[in-house]
Amino acid sequence: MHNPMEQFEIKRLIPLYLGGLDVSYTNAALWMTIAIALMAFIFVYGMRRQALVPGRLQGVAETGYEFIAKMVSDNVGEGGKKYFPFVLTLFLFVLGCNALGLIPYSFTPTSHIIVTFAMAAFVFIGVTIIAFIKHGLHFFSFFAPKGVPLWLMPILVPIEVISYLIRPLTLSVRLFANMLAGHIMLKVFAGFVIMVGILFGWLPLIFTSAFFALEVLVACLQAYVFAILTCLYLNDALHLHH
């Protein structure tokens, strides 16, 4: 039975070395490029006609756009519109990477912690900088919510600070763990089909098919959750609990 962890290996497709740094074009980079190209194609080609009554592909592009636009306006509120392109790109990139990983023999870029951590760190640092630019030092009142009695503050403020600082970690590990666990399970149960043989192989096969459907749902869900949490963190930064 093949090792289920083999699917996560990074392979260099085009070795490139710049001044001691390894900047090879890897299979991870290839699939990220394909995800971006696919999403760009859907939107650019879908909107080429800009018909008032949308055709099929334009309908898909418009639905995706409106879904995220509504999410941003509902969750970020005032002054959130300028962050819409960022949230849309984030959502489509994560969705593209997650979905492409479901193709057999492909590679899921978001199943590597460095990819998800890069995105989550970017979101966290960006949101904190936005908060400091907008509120200055008043930002620290975020950790002491209104209406809390004074004797509770020494316990509450450290908890609030820790739960704020842990955001990039949870944001990245949530996506990473979902993708990792899902793909490992798919490979393990697929291995069972072969191991058990013809007589009873249909049992793990049925389970693998059902689990594959769940993985499609999880791919879309995790993209949505990443985007909506970005919107909620932006809301916290812009409006500080109000």
Partner: protein, 75 residues
Amino acid sequence: MDPAAAKMIGAGLASIALAGAGVGIGNIFAAYISGSFRNPEQAPRVFANVILGFALAEATGLFGLVVALLLLFVL
């Protein structure tokens, strides 16, 4: 106890965290189902929050799974 055996036992213990994920997800959907029986019109409105809550509850369980996988394959 030799380290390889200790890692296996540790990984098994860390997977117990997934029970919490199951309980949390069950709670969320129980509240959603019970609420939508009482007020079926508002059910689609709250569905987005249900999905968000499900993903967050699942995530905490998966943090435990990550510790298990870390023990088995990295350390």
